[in-house]
């Protein structure tokens, strides 16, 4: 069995993002980059499936500049077997990500594709569902539990107001919700081993994809700041202000 896990390099989500002065993009000076946290969960899930089933190859793929090799190495240090970098340093929108991944799927023929439910940089959450449509594959988004029985995959999905269970026959696409698992840290031997694992590079053109965005970012600005309010001294004062000034209780 083969599992393909797309991963994205994103700024550390725990750091507050600053904009460039002209609003043309974010200020990346000194910014730390990590694997998109949801993609990390997807990598972990693939590794757990491998640990349960044994004969599983995990291929991680990223689209981005050369620096994305860092995140691919981290995924391999966790336990992925090999990596593909589709070199495209410029902005790319979800339909083009899906188009590139569709070509990678055609080449690699994975049984399962597991990805994060959204990237925490652009927060779009589109590429995997688009890929599912392009490939005519089943999709199980926001997974909090994945079970595999032969070629049948059962997924518990987190939806509004409860949990939905769906099943499909492989191949198919799963996107990882926060609570699917807790990703492991890469071990030192894992990091050493990852350096020798294969990492193939190619371009969108090598895959026959000409990137032409359908969605572009024209400008960026900071949201209106909320001004800090009052620090109250007592419960009495708080209740009084909420009642008389804010009029919310």
């Amino acid at each position: 069995m083969k599992i393909l896990v797309p991963v994205k390099r994103v700024p550390d989500p725990d750091v507050k993002i600053k904009l460039k002065k002209d609003g043309s993009g974010i200020d990346t000076e000194g910014l730390k980059f990590v694997i998109n946290p949801f993609d990390e969960i997807a990598v972990e899930e693939a590794i757990r499936i491998k640990e349960r089933l044994g004969d599983v190859e995990i291929v991680v793929v990223s689209i981005g500049g050369e620096e994305s090799t860092e995140q691919l190495r981290t995924a391999m240090a966790m336990g992925a077997d090999r990596a593909i970098l589709v070199v495209h340093p410029d902005y790319i929108d979800p339909p083009n990500v899906a188009a590139i991944l569709a070509k990678v799927v055609e080449k690699e023929q994975p049984d399962l594709i597991i990805a994060g439910k959204q990237a925490v940089d652009d927060d779009l959450g589109q590429a995997m569902q688009m890929l599912a449509e392009m490939l005519d594959y089943p999709q199980a988004t926001f997974a909090s539990k994945v079970e595999i029985d032969g070629t049948k995959v059962t997924v518990v999905r987190e939806v509004d107001g409860g949990l939905t269970t769906v099943e499909f026959e492989m191949p198919g696409i799963i996107t990882a919700e926060l609570r699917l698992n807790e990703p492991r840290y890469a071990s030192l031997p894992g990091i050493m081993k990852a350096k020798r694992k294969p990492l193939d590079k190619m371009t969108p053109a090598d895959l026959g994809v000409e990137v032409s965005p359908k969605l572009t970012v024209k400008a960026m600005s900071e949201p209106p700041a909320r001004k800090a309010g009052k620090i109250v001294e007592s419960v009495d004062e708080l209740v009084k202000l909420l009642h008389e000034e804010a009029k919310v209780i």
């Binding site: 989500p13 339909p95 959204q118 927060d123 107001g161 969605l215 960026m220 909320r226 419960v235």
Partner: protein
Amino acid sequence: MGNAIVYIETRDGALKKASLSAVSAAKDYVSKAGGDVILAVLGNNVDSVAEEVAKLGVAKVLKAQGADLENYVAESYTQVLKQIAEANDASAIFGTATAQGKDLLPRLAAALGAGMASDILEIIDDKTFKRPMYAGNVIAEVEISTPVKVLSVRSTAFPHAEAGDTAAPIEDFSYSLDSSKVKTKFVKFEEIKSERPELTEAEIVISGGRGVKGPEGFKMLEELADILNAAIGASRAAVDAGWVPNDLQVGQTGKIVAPNLYIACGISGAIQHLAGMKDSKVIVAINKDPDAPIFQVADYGLVADFFKVWPEFVEKVKQLKAEEG
């Protein structure tokens, strides 16, 4: 100049309120881009929802009904909505950024060869929209270049469309479903029942974080929620600790809320939590750490141990409500 189609989400034959915001967004869109607003209701028992939404001041309501649409599956709903879009000269398809909208709309966009903007906050013109990025720390102006556009609406950014006296015509839409393309099988839905208002629709939200220390602390929050008819929310830390169900998480990757009053108890205010609540009208923070980032967005802050002040707070609110009768 085409029309704006709105996918109306339902659950158990009832309208999902967030869809009313998508209707408002679509009306705003046609006021700038031209065309009519057409609503699409899909399911197996949606007559009453169709009648309800027909009064929202739109051109018409299309009803796609059938046993094969009883349970939502992305592949079948995508096929039907694609047929609706193509038969009605759609230039934009609106839905909401609910779990179902997030699952469905990108797939639909791919089926239509359309570009999509997620979680839109504002419509600038027929192809330009504002939306948040980086957990709401950046507002981006995005442009979609395809003739058909798919848009998911952040429901807190648009008002609910209101019902008027006249009703638009309701038409049955006959669709054809290629079942060989529906490969995901719906097995079951387990509802998490709650007596409280839904988190994203409540006027008041009371949220707990690490500082409420466990399920017992959440019970204390519920006491006030009962008095104020509030919803309960939680930080990721509280959800990860298993103190409350997952669907109570407020934040970038959980629920986005904007109630009249948001009371944050024992929540430090991580970036991803703030992303989910900072558009609330009035924010109250109770936290014992004076440096907690939550105080930077709070209108009223009380630096105190939650367990020391909460019982008194509940008591005082109770008294106030009793005085008001």
